[in-house]
Symmetry: C2
């Protein structure tokens, strides 16, 4: 993949500004933690694995200008930076998990001085970055086995290269299947209100010359009724111990429709997307975003002034509607509580 | 209701240009049949009952400039006008049913001269117009009985005053319930791609001071899972003899989701929306519209150039997912084949 969603270059985190795609391909250089916080908040960088990496890079941005060797002050800045970054978005657990991995560097090196900690934190961030690449490839390999020649696949939002360091979660499955020479086609749900499916997924899939058809989210049911969808792949932002999976709003709808029409529904997500501290999806905090996202498009109002809006950015798909969760370690199937523990905790 | 969606004024059909709402309230005067054909095609006038009336008025526009008393030439013009109008949009059967009512005037008066026929056709068009008003009120009365205090209702597209001559089908139920002093609230699905829910339904409901919340279509499932939807009302564009109902794309999705969550799903439509010549929804032609509707908004591209698009304007909800069909004659429930015949053919 030529797409470099996020990369550390000479003391800056360079990201592709995804709010401008597909009209403009533009890099944004985050040179301080506030710019990174805003980039995450505004969805200039988005996708659970990518914002995990963005958070780790954000920590580097926060501490890199620290001068001197006062460890107490350094740790204060470090923890403030981590806490600040954790307020950017609430749902994707990768953000919190990667901040915890950064915090663990400090906890596990109680004797280290400031210079040593800075170096160790840099190495940890780069490890997080590199791990995501490897994990994408492994998920792709496991998931590709599910795709048979001639299949019509369906996906929502963008769980691709633009959501990760490498080639994605759900879309990674397509890239891997294409790499193996399989013939298939993909329906991309546009994903209201911010159109990540139309803007980002179609852009990626077309670049990879995958047969792609764009639909509005409310057309998926009709495709299924017509027998035109064989399998569904989505990403995830947080998966509970019981397999309940939060993902972009509209995912739960697809899972219910898939069950009604007898279509297998798969989630593709790395182990960093699991939150084993929570028992079920009921405990996943769901981000609600500004009403403008629904009532305006490109500055043009699309609804009467003063109308109330409900704009949750995510929904939760209960495990019972999920055929399997494709991870870097293999495909997890029901019973999820037992099999998630077995695959991820051993 | 102050809204006059369509009205005959001094030899012209005046319509509210619905493509401009809610930003601009503007009348369009159709003085010839071509302007009316385009207004229907471009959705400047829309909603199954309203385009039935628009078709009848279109016939008047087509024949009103006919001079002389040559009946053969008059009938040729009349039939050409009817045939032309029938090519404007394929799904809503009201269009064809109302053209047939106009044709019946000619068939039932074989001896009439041109002047008499012109007068009879004018009266028939006005009867169609007036009947829609009366029918809206009756559907509203029957449907309002289904709404209990405190209910959270959900609707899609616009089945309101803007879709009819009077105060609507599904929204008429809300207006009637409000008139009876009932307290309830409404979720309006925005209805991609053309946002009739956001633009038109929210505009109407706010004007009537009904508690209204706008959602994207893909958020309905989450609301249902949260127990926030008690009942669903939609309009219809064509209902087959077995109760299968075509309506705006996204309706079938709601019906499947409603079944999964145990929520009653009602269709509200006048008897003119029934097509008793067809056995099931499989025989309903579904209009597919231009890909630009999905890939652009207000002239701004929202998807990469060259992506394929599937853009059906309607879907079909099988009768088995419908709790009841509210008509001017009462609420039809299963078994639909028998009860539709009983209520509509007697």
């Amino acid at each position: 993949m030529a797409v470099e969603t996020i990369k550390w270059i000479n003391g800056a985190a360079r990201i592709i500004d995804q709010t401008k795609l597909p009209r403009q391909f533009k890099y944004l250089y985050c040179r301080d933690v506030k710019t990174m916080w805003q980039a995450i908040k505004r969805l200039q960088v988005r996708g659970a694995p990518a914002i995990g990496v963005a958070a780790a890079f954000g920590v580097l941005l926060g501490i890199q200008k620290f001068k001197g060797s006062d460890k107490r002050k350094f740790l204060q800045l470090f923890h403030e930076t981590c806490d600040y970054l954790s307020t950017s978005r609430p749902t994707a657990v990768n953000l919190f998990n990667m901040l915890n991995e950064m915090r663990a560097v400090v906890t596990h090196n109680p004797q280290a001085d400031v210079a040593t900690l800075k170096k160790a934190l840099f190495l940890q961030a780069m490890t997080i970055f590199e791990a995501d690449r490897e994990v994408c490839r492994q998920m792709g390999e496991h998931g590709a086995k599910l795709i048979k020649n001639g299949m019509r696949c369906l996906t929502v939002c963008n769980a691709g290269a633009l959501a990760t360091v490498d080639y994605g979660t759900a879309l990674g499955v397509f890239y891997s299947a294409k790499g193996r020479g399989k013939k298939f086609s993909v329906y991309s749900c546009e994903t209201r209100p911010l159109l990540q499916g139309a803007r980002l997924t179609c852009w990626e899939l077309l670049q990879q010359k995958i047969d792609t058809t764009l639909i509005c989210d409310n057309m998926a049911a009709t495709l299924m009724a017509q027998g035109k969808v064989d399998i569904i792949f989505t990403g995830a932002d947080r998966i509970a111990s019981n397999g309940d999976a939060a993902n972009k709003i509209g995912t739960y709808m697809l899972a219910v429709l898939a069950r009604h029409h007898g279509i297998p529904f798969y989630v593709v997500a790395p182990s960093t997307t699991f939150d084993l501290k929570i028992k079920s999806g009921r405990q996943i905090p769901i981000e609600e975003r500004h009403s403008d996202e629904v009532t305006h498009f490109a500055g043009v109002p699309t609804a009467p002034k003063g109308v109330k809006v409900y704009n949750p950015a995510f929904d939760v798909t209960p495990a019972k509607l999920i055929a399997g969760i494709v991870t870097e370690h293999g495909i997890i199937r029901a019973p999820f509580v037992k099999n998630i523990k077995r695959l991820l905790l051993n």
